[in-house]
Each structure stands twice: as structure tokens, then as C-alpha cells.
């Protein structure tokens, strides 16, 4: 597992954002910090805000990373790693839903970091797709829109993918979201069932389904780009074919529909046996949903489904969905020809279960 937070000492007193560089001749910026020293324990960098000494990584590993330096607790957060295609910024830990399988259970408090995150985005490596997640980012909708618009206006090479429960879009937002800047923003939105009661129970909020439909109507009229996400739990497995028909009838505008296998963390960890579906035993409802979506030209994909656990006809839909820093493969995977295209397992997935389920392709 790649560590996203590293212990560090800094001269500055207040948090700040900087980009780390090891080559002084590279195209540098006033906001950069340059490598000044490297030892066994870590690397030291120097910039306009003084010295930073980071433990646990080499200069080369950190080169190009955009970090948030937090002097008081003595650590740095690697916000945007130059070597990774998948970087995600957490804008809040508050949420107004409480999903039964939440991988990152919400907190009551909110620390406003929008200004720092915006600085980080402006320093992002060229062409990066920046993920934004939470908590629920649109609880701070105005600040979120402002940040996205300012960053995309300043950097025409960047794009955003924002995870949201879509409980807060209003008809009035459509005009703003029609701005050409949002052509480089896509929204990842969860929908668990066509039955409003079941969806509401899964997300832990009464009326969520109705509110979601209203937001989706706004997003259609805004020409927004949406990736629909459905986490598989035992309660919705057999609802998937109906959900596929619903998507074909009402949500044809989505760019993709991702059916996601459960992540063994957060709430799902404690409720694993109640929630988890072994798709190897009962793939038929998933297959029917994938066929229905494909029939109507909707790009369906499987997230967090190791390829060897998916029937061959559907295997190409099982993509390498797990970010590098939290992904692992089993010893049995070493001989597999499809490992490069495979999601693998979450770092926190129980090894015994993972090892028992792989058969190298």
C-alpha cells in the first residue's frame, strides 16, 4: 500500500500547499519546494515557506507530488501524486446520507479546506483528472462550484470527477452547469434500486430517491456528464435487472453505469455477512442487467470484480477499478495474464477470502 500521509517537520507555522521537485532545472514555479537533502529516513525540500523534512519516501518517489503541509500535527498529505492516474481530494467528511455499506463513514465536523485544495489543483500535473469525494461535496455546493470553475478556467488541461449523492442540485443550477467548463466535469452518482423504499433504506435517508430523481432531471437538462454507480449488496442483487430497465428508460444520458462490488471497510466491514454477495455463486442477475444495459447502448462496467471471478462473456466489463495506492493482488495472481487489466483486491480485503477466490487466467 502506498502511504498518502507521511510524518514531516516544517518550518512554517500554518498549513500550506506546495509542489515537490527534485530537478532544479525543471520548469519550476514560485510555489515549488526543491529537494535539498536526502538521507535514509527521507527527503528534505526547501521553498518559499521554508524547509520541509519528510520521512518514509525518497525524493524521486515524491517528485512532482502536490502536498499539503500540516506543521502542527507534523505531517504532509500527498494530495495529488504525480505518478498516479487516480487522485482524490476530500472536501468534507459530513454527509446527509448514511449508506449501509459506507466505506468512509461520515463525521459531524467539517474542516473547510477549499482554499488549500484549490491551490493544489492549480499546481496539478498536466492533463490530470482530479477526483473529488467526501462526505458529500455538494453540502458546500457554492464553494465547490466556485472552486471547480476557477480551476478549470485557469487550467484548460484539467478535468474533475466528483462523487455526489445528488441530493442538492436544484433547477436553478442547470444554467450554471451548462457552462462549457463543466464539459470537463463528470459526476459519480449512486443509485441502488428502482424501488424508492429500498433505495432510501440502503442510503439511510427518507425521500432520497425522489430527491435524486429531481437532481438527475436537472443534470439532464444541464447536459451534465454522469457516471451512475450501484454498489452490490444482498438487498439489491435481484433488483439489478429492473434497475437496468429503469436506466435504459430514464437515464440513457449517463456516460457509464458502474456496478460495484462491496469494499471490506467502513460500515461494510462489520456487516459483511449481511451485505456481501458472492457474485461467483449468483451471477445471473448481474448478467441480465449487463445485457439489458448493453442492449440499449449504455456502457456498463464492473468495479472491484477480479476478472477471474467473472464469466468470460462479461470479463471485458470488469475493469481495473481500484486505485494503485489501495490495491493488492494475491500470490496466486502472479501467473495471471490479465492482471494488468484486473481490479485486484482492496488492500483491506481479507487475504484468506481473496486467495481462495482467484484462479489465474
Amino acid at each position: 500500500m502506498i502511504r498518502l500521509t507521511l510524518p514531516a517537520l516544517a518550518e512554517a507555522e500554518r498549513p500550506f500547499v506546495t509542489r515537490l521537485r527534485i530537478d532544479p532545472n525543471a520548469d519550476t514555479d514560485i510555489r515549488d519546494s526543491l529537494l535539498v537533502n536526502e538521507e535514509a529516513a527521507g527527503a528534505s525540500f526547501s521553498g518559499a515557506r521554508g524547509l520541509i523534512a519528510i520521512d518514509g519516501a525518497t525524493g524521486r518517489e515524491l517528485d512532482g507530488d502536490v502536498i499539503l503541509v500540516q506543521p502542527a500535527p507534523g505531517r504532509v498529505e500527498r494530495l495529488l501524486r504525480a505518478g498516479s492516474r487516480t487522485n482524490s481530494l476530500l472536501v468534507t467528511e459530513r454527509c446527509d446520507q448514511l449508506c449501509v455499506m459506507c466505506s468512509q463513514p461520515p463525521k459531524k465536523t467539517h474542516v473547510d479546506r477549499f482554499a488549500l485544495l484549490e491551490q493544489a489543483c492549480l499546481l496539478a500535473p498536466p492533463g490530470m483528472l482530479i477526483g473529488i469525494s467526501g462526505g458529500e461535496p455538494t453540502l458546500y455546493k457554492e464553494q465547490l462550484f466556485d472552486m471547480v470553475e476557477r480551476v478549470l478556467a485557469a487550467r484548460d488541461d484539467l478535468a474533475f470527477h466528483i462523487l455526489t449523492n445528488a441530493q442538492h442540485f436544484t433547477v436553478e443550477d442547470a444554467e450554471r452547469l451548462r457552462s462549457p467548463l463543466y464539459a470537463r466535469t463528470s459526476w459519480g452518482i449512486p443509485l441502488y434500486a428502482t424501488d424508492a423504499g429500498l433505495h432510501d433504506r440502503i442510503v439511510g435517508k427518507a425521500g432520497a430517491f425522489d430527491r435524486l430523481e429531481r437532481s438527475l432531471a436537472t443534470l439532464i437538462l444541464a447536459g451534465a456528464r454522469v457516471e451512475l454507480r450501484t454498489v452490490l449488496v444482498s438487498a439489491n442483487l435481484h433488483e439489478l435487472p429492473a434497475l437496468a430497465r429503469y436506466v435504459a428508460a430514464r437515464l440513457r444520458f449517463v456516460e457509464a453505469w458502474s456496478i460495484m462490488q462491496l469494499e471490506h471497510i467502513g460500515f461494510a466491514k462489520g456487516r459483511w455477512h449481511a451485505l456481501h454477495v458472492d457474485h461467483r455463486r449468483d451471477f445471473a442477475p448481474i448478467a441480465a442487467a449487463l445485457d439489458q444495459a448493453s442492449l440499449h447502448g449504455i456502457r456498463a462496467q464492473l468495479f472491484n470484480f477480479p476478472r477471474c471471478t467473472v464469466p468470460p462473456a462479461y470479463r471485458s466489463m470488469a475493469i481495473a477499478s481500484i486505485s494503485d495506492w489501495k490495491r493488492k493482488y494475491m500470490p496466486g495472481c502472479a501467473a495471471c495474464r490479465e492482471q494488468g487489466q484486473c481490479s485486484g483486491f482492496f488492500e483491506w480485503h481479507p487475504d484468506a477470502d481473496a486467495e481462495a477466490s482467484v484462479t489465474p487466467l
Partner: protein, 470 residues
């Protein structure tokens, strides 16, 4: 509840096909049609209609937005010019009985691009705003001028995405031609009319040249694999070849996609094949038998999927709007925008058929030339009528969301574009095609659903493809 309008067409003895403006459809029983006319829909009917996007509940902004989106999705939008059909020479080393371009003799002077025309084509490529390009070399026989092909291809290096198609009779291939074909971004398109006898009668004129063609086809298929090579048969509807023989001729070369075309009513075909003016019922019956033979073959041999190309296009247009960029079946069908044809003399035409009409002396449908441009009044006039949305017959037709418009075909056959739509060959052909496709969609035969699922590129085979309301 608001009931969204549907257009209805008989489907079978028991049911009618109901299609809305977004192209969403279901098979409604005659009982349902009666209930609809009597305004006696049951709660079950209403639930079905709302769920399937045919009716809106009072407060359903998502249903409304989804419907509007669905209607908009059915309208094609031409992007910037990124597809050029180029005719570097009109000369040809064959003289097929139905040649569609009024070919020129092998040694005839004045039928190749001049230096100026080549320079203008290259300048045109330089001016394109896209980062992708598709170029189809037509003729004549384009491989007679490999130097021109190379010059064009070299100029396209700047495009991130490139595709070249050489439409060739494969009569003569040497090292120079093979060096061109070796490019991974180049594809070969040829004609194969069936077995050697049929092919010889229609195209090569004798066994020696037929054998050379078949050997060359084998050479390129072996050298590059079938994925790089496509072939089309041209069928004389008055004497169509034996279906199984035709299919096996394709299968033997690893060619899985067969575009069954009747002789086009163009060029010399106009003089020699007068019967081609109207494809009669015999052709439609042949076409259906052909498709059913492929379905049976696919069912017998699951390791391999053959298809009739145009049927697959029509089928995908029904279920998957916005996916196909097939310029022969789209609506609106604007001309001279996203693709053009540049003839051997530098004249620009909206379609290859328009070029043939001009060449045959029927009507000059050129919209400009490659030196001076084609943003012309002629183009605007064509495009003012390039849609089926406002035609009174199309407005009542269940298949309008899936269908297209072909002005040039109308002009070729009737000399005018304001024929009553139902009296045109384009309309009759497509009514038949869509009737046939929907009969297949609602078939209970697992072999049929299996083939349709493959042609729709589905991973599995659903139990059924279309909704039904009893």
C-alpha cells in the same frame, strides 16, 4: 397522467408495434390497442406505460427530461469534416457489368488527379480542424496510382487518429501496393460477388482474372487476418446467386460481415440493368432468406458470427441511438459537412452516388470543387431538405425515429425529391427492412434471439429483446 404519442404499425396477428418519438417501443396486444382507443386503460397499463417511458405522471420531471433527451438523441448532428472519399483516378483495369462510376479505360488520359488537384487536396487536409481523419480511396481503381495514395497518407501523419480504406478490385497487387497495405491504419475493401462463376460473370469477365483476384484475396487475408479486409457482394436481383454458396464464399475467406446490396441504380447499371429501377418482392424475399440462412448458420456453428451488415446497422439504430456513424442511414442527413467526395477532376460531391449521377449525365449535384471550396448555395439547397422530420408520411410512420433520408437516391430514381414518400424505393426498402427486423426482435425462436444479440454486441443472450403489453 400524460400519454406520450405513439405511432403504431401492425406487428403480427396478435399485436401492434407502438413507437414513441424517442424510438422507445413495445408490442401492444390488440386488446391494449382497443383499451387505448376506448380510453379504458387499466392501472396495469398505466404502470407499464409510465415505467417504459410512454406516459408521464403529473409530477415527474425526470421522466419528462428523459423523454426530451431521448427525442434529441435521435437527431444526428454532423460534426466537422473528418471523412473524405477520394477518387485519385477514374481509370480501372476491370469493366464490371454494373460499374457504378462510368469508369475510364486503363490507358485513357485526363482521368487522374492533376498536380493542382493533389495540391488542393493536401491543402484541404492541412486546413481540417479535427484530430482524427478517415479517408476512403475510391475509383476507378485507386491502386493504379500508389504515388497519390502515399502523398495523401503522408500528409495525414499529424492526425492523432487515422483510418484509411482502399476500395480495390485486388486484381493486381505487387510489392509497392503491399508496402502500402502493410500500414496498420489501412484497411482493404473489395468486392466478392459469390462463387468464382458469379464473380467472373459480373466482374472479371473470365476465369484467369477471377483466379488472380481470388489468389490475391487469399494473400491479403492470410497476410493481415480477416479483421483488415472487408468485402461486399453486388447482387443482380434478377438472377441472385445461391444463398449458401454466397455465404460459404465469404466464410471461406474469414469474412464475417456481408453487405447484401442489390445493383445500384447508377452509372452504367442504369443502361444495362433496367430492372434495377425497382427492387421487387422477389428481392425482399431473397434478402429475408439470406438473413435467415445466416441465423441458422450462426446457431449451428456458435464459434462464429456472420451478419448482414445493413440489417445490423438498422438493428443497432433501433436500440442504440447515437452509436452508429453510418452516413447512409441517419436523420437529418446533412450533405457536404462532415464528409465529402473529391472526384478525379477535383469536383466536390456530397455523396458517391451524387458523383455517379453527374458522371452519368443525369444531373450535376456537385457542390463545389476542392480548390475553391464547397460552402455553396447548392449545398444549402440540399440541406434545406435533408430530414425526414417534416415529411407528412414520415411523421405518421412508426419507423421515423430509426430511419433516414436520402435525397440523392430520390433524384437518381425519380428526378425529384418531393415524391410521396411511400412511393419511393428508399421508403419501401426501409419499411420492409424495419418490418423484418421487428419480426425478428419479437421472434420466439432462440436461434433468432441468439443472432440478434450477437449483432447488437451483447455479452449474453437475453430471454427477449422487446417489451410486450398484453
Amino acid at each position: 397522467m400524460t400519454f406520450l404519442p405513439v405511432r403504431v404499425r401492425p406487428l403480427s396477428d396478435e399485436a401492434a408495434l407502438c413507437v414513441n418519438d424517442a424510438g422507445r417501443f413495445f408490442a401492444g396486444s390488440h386488446g391494449f390497442v382497443d383499451r387505448l382507443l376506448d380510453e379504458a386503460l387499466t392501472p396495469m397499463d398505466r404502470q407499464f406505460l409510465a415505467r417504459e417511458g410512454h406516459a408521464l405522471e403529473a409530477d415527474d420531471p425526470l421522466g419528462l427530461a428523459a423523454h426530451l433527451h431521448g427525442v434529441a438523441e435521435r437527431l444526428s448532428r454532423a460534426g466537422p469534416l473528418d471523412y473524405l472519399i477520394l477518387v485519385p483516378t477514374l481509370r480501372c483495369n476491370l469493366s464490371c457489368s454494373y460499374c457504378q462510376v462510368s469508369r475510364a479505360g486503363l490507358a485513357a488520359p485526363g482521368f487522374d488527379w492533376s498536380e493542382e488537384t493533389l495540391a488542393a487536396v493536401l491543402a484541404c487536409l492541412d486546413a481540417l480542424s479535427t484530430d482524427r481523419i478517415k479517408i476512403e480511396f475510391q475509383g476507378g481503381e485507386p491502386t493504379l496510382r500508389p504515388d497519390l495514395l502515399r502523398a495523401v497518407i503522408a500528409r495525414c501523419e499529424r492526425f492523432a487518429e487515422r483510418q484509411f480504406v482502399v476500395c480495390t478490385n485486388l486484381q493486381q497487387i505487387d510489392d509497392e501496393i503491399l508496402a502500402l497495405f502493410d500500414r496498420p491504419d489501412l484497411f482493404i475493401s473489395t468486392s466478392l460477388d459469390g462463387d468464382a462463376t458469379t464473380h467472373g460473370r459480373n466482374r472479371t469477365g473470365g476465369p484467369v482474372r477471377t483466379d488472380r483476384f481470388l489468389a490475391n484475396l487469399r494473400t491479403v487475408v492470410d497476410r493481415y487476418g480477416p479483421g483488415k479486409v472487408s468485402a461486399l457482394p453486388t447482387i443482380d436481383a434478377t438472377a441472385p446467386p445461391d444463398i449458401d454458396t454466397l455465404i460459404e464464399a465469404y466464410a471461406a475467406h474469414g469474412l464475417d460481415s456481408i453487405f447484401l446490396r442489390p445493383i445500384n441504380f447508377q452509372g452504367f447499371a442504369r443502361k444495362r440493368h433496367k430492372d434495377a429501377r425497382e427492387q421487387d418482392l422477389a428481392w425482399r424475399a431473397y434478402y429475408e432468406r439470406f438473413v435467415r440462412a445466416i441465423i441458422a448458420r450462426n446457431w449451428r456453428d456458435r464459434g462464429r458470427v456472420l451478419e448482414e451488415t445493413y440489417l445490423s446497422i438498422a438493428l443497432r439504430r433501433i436500440f442504440q441511438p447515437g452509436r452508429d456513424r453510418h452516413v447512409d442511414l441517419r436523420n437529418p442527413n446533412p450533405m457536404g459537412l462532415d464528409y465529402i467526395v473529391v472526384d478525379h477532376d477535383g469536383m466536390v460531391y456530397p455523396t458517391d452516388e451524387a458523383r455517379m449521377l453527374a458522371r452519368s449525365g443525369i444531373i450535376d449535384l456537385s457542390i463545389g470543387d476542392v480548390r475553391r471550396g464547397w460552402d455553396s448555395e447548392a449545398r444549402d439547397q440540399l440541406n434545406a431538405h435533408a430530414t425526414n422530420q417534416f415529411d407528412p408520411a414520415c411523421q405518421r410512420c412508426a419507423y421515423q425515429p430509426y430511419c433516414g433520408r436520402d435525397l440523392v437516391d430520390d433524384i437518381a430514381r425519380y428526378g425529384r425529391i418531393d415524391m410521396p414518400r411511400l412511393e419511393t424505393e428508399f421508403c419501401r426498402r426501409h419499411l420492409h427492412l424495419f418490418d423484418f427486423v421487428f419480426a425478428l426482435i419479437y421472434s420466439d425462436d432462440p436461434a433468432v434471439i441468439y443472432s440478434l444479440s450477437r449483432w447488437l454486441r451483447l455479452p449474453g443472450t437475453p430471454a427477449s429483446l422487446g417489451a410486450r403489453l398484453q
